[in-house]
Amino acid sequence: MALLLRTHFKLAKTSIRENRTRSFLTCLGIAIGVASIILILSLMGSISNLIQNEIGEIGADLIVVRPSSTKDSVTSIVEELTSANSFQKSSLAISDVPAIAKLENVSAAAPIAISNNTIISEKNTLSSVPVLGTNLDFIKIEPLSMRYGAFLNEHNAENSVVLGHTLSLALFNTINSTVGKTVTIMGEKFMIVGVLDEVDKSINFDNIDFDNALIMDIDSLDRITGSTQIQQINIKAANTDSLSTISQDIENELFNQKLGDKNFTVAYGDAITHPASSLFTIVSGMLTIVAAISLVVGGIGVMNIMLVSVAERTHEIGIRKAVGASSRNILMQFLFEALILSILGGILGLILGYVLAFLLSVITPFAPYISWEIIAITFLTTISVGIIFGIYPALKAASKNPIDSLRYYR
């Protein structure tokens, strides 16, 4: 049997080499499908790596509370994305924050509420600027460093703001003389007390692009916009050993606050990374489906070329059967050929995918992410594509009648 397998392998190699152009184009079909899957998986891996690294930097003492009770289910993510998030009433309230902060072992708690507003400076007017409403604890949790000035403090919180690095440039065309100037938001004037250092991390667990954001006190934000939607509460635990106990305490406290309505999630550790990248989960899920479709198209290419090959070699099949090949021998011969075509395509796709991932890493912060899981997935997919799309032509070849096949000439 092993001997025969080697023979099949050699036969397939010969046949593929003889029809080089045709085989290469077929492989390319598979390769494009595999490359896009690799690219997407690498991108996803690199994104969750980025977020994990960030959490590592912040420290292991981070707990996050988010609205909505369902955790991982895809439907909740879809709902969250489709229901115009910013207009939906968040289940978290500003009053929840001091309640959490009072708990034992909680050293800081900062809400995050985002509202997109138009900001007017002496030079420019910018619309749809993300305005982050939070409290003074924020800087204790988030390791943001200031380029100029200082973060909000209890004396100036009511009418002061902090600008992101890029936003400062956009509003005043400068960063070094921004502190002390004023901006107008919803008709109210605010003094700029600080400018953030460049963060350059558009993907983080807060879902905020700090470089482009304006930070102000949540009470002020609530005052000018009328209502604020808290999308997340960041909590710093006093000690890292009892995160589960602390998060349980937080859960119980909020549960009581909301009179038994459990419509929020308390997460710590790796669980934090997921919802922050929910948009990416959706997008990459969609992309994976598209890639899978292109893989199916590639598979149909394999099937097509195998059917051509079977038809072309009808006479050969007749001869082989006449000299003693069983139907199974013929089946294996053609199945092997399809398998080798798709595995070659898979290898080509693996290389192509990582070349693309590398090129992407030049212009984006996503470094190529290589893991054995990705490589295993690639091989399993290509092998199944080879078998699924190779079995029909192989069966067709195997079921050929030797007498008719012998009479057939190309």
Binding site: T14, E316, A322, V323, G324, I403, L406
Partner: protein
């Protein structure tokens, strides 16, 4: 059934089509073939000669009747084992040679051994020996189209005997050849027969019947005449073909033969 019986056909019928289009390639065909026979089957086109050969060669199935091969009813043999039997016990020679165009002749000859579990090296060694017997060893790596018709047919015969089969089935092996090549091919078949193999050959050429031990004339799917020219007792000993047989033995065998064979040797020398 005598011990020397190789093939027994009883009431064999092959029907094509149904109803109005019904026609019979074979009709209640009975035949017993002994080991060591060289049978020539003659008859007009469409009398069922090729169908008979295909059924004996396990490429086709009869619609009705029994086919007993080596004491075993073929109907009870699985398709997979029938394929193995084709590889080991039966050698086919066709009118149009049926060599695989993309394979060098050495690999064409080795083809039946692929399915009987030989390693690649031993396959090619056996094939090379078989080709040597037919004086084609210098052309091992030629592709079929680079050879003449007579040479291609000798390659096909080498392929038929490479696995030491008991039965050689030849369907008009000289049909596409000129008379000189025909006689070379017939001499080769005769030599194989003299080593104790059973040969069943379909032909249209009455001149070739001198090689046969038995001539069967077929008409409309049935036996018309059946003439044995050699008594059963004088048939060659049923020993398997020894491809490695020394060349001296082989050539002495031929020189002891008719004028034609001498002519054929001369022509070979000329080449």
């Amino acid at each position: 059934m005598s011990e020397n019986t190789l093939i027994e056909l009883r009431g064999l019928t092959k029907r094509y089509g149904y109803g109005d289009t019904e026609s019979f390639a074979l009709k209640d065909f009975d035949l017993t073939i002994k080991r060591g026979e060289f049978i020539m089957i003659m008859g007009p086109s469409g009398c069922g000669k090729t169908t008979l050969l295909n059924i004996i060669g396990l490429l086709d199935r009869a619609s009705r009747g029994e086919y007993i091969l080596n004491g075993e009813n073929v109907a009870s043999i699985s398709a997979r084992r029938q394929a193995r039997l084709r590889a080991k016990k039966i050698g086919f020679v066709f009118q149009n040679f049926n060599l695989i165009e993309d394979l060098p002749i050495l690999e064409n000859v080795a083809l039946p051994l692929v399915y009987t579990g030989y390693t690649k090296t031993s396959r090619l060694k056996h094939a090379s020996n078989a080709l040597k017997r037919f004086h084609l060893q210098e052309r091992e790596y030629y592709l079929p189209y680079q050879l003449s018709g007579g040479q291609q047919q000798r390659v096909a015969i080498a392929r038929a005997i490479v696995g030491n089969p008991e039965i050689i089935l030849a369907d008009e092996p000289t049909g596409n050849l000129d008379s000189r090549s025909s006689h070379i091919v017939m001499e080769e078949l005769k030599a194989i027969h003299d080593e104790g193999n059973t040969i069943i050959m379909v032909t249209h050429n009455p001149a070739l019947t001198v090689y046969a031990t038995r001539v069967i004339n077929m008409l409309d799917g049935q036996i018309d005449t059946d003439i044995k020219t050699v008594a059963d007792a004088n048939l060659p000993q049923p020993i398997s073909v020894k491809i490695k047989k020394k060349k001296s033995e082989f050539s002495s065998l031929i020189s002891a033969d008719s004028k034609r064979s001498r002519k054929h040797k001369k022509s070979r020398r000329k080449r």
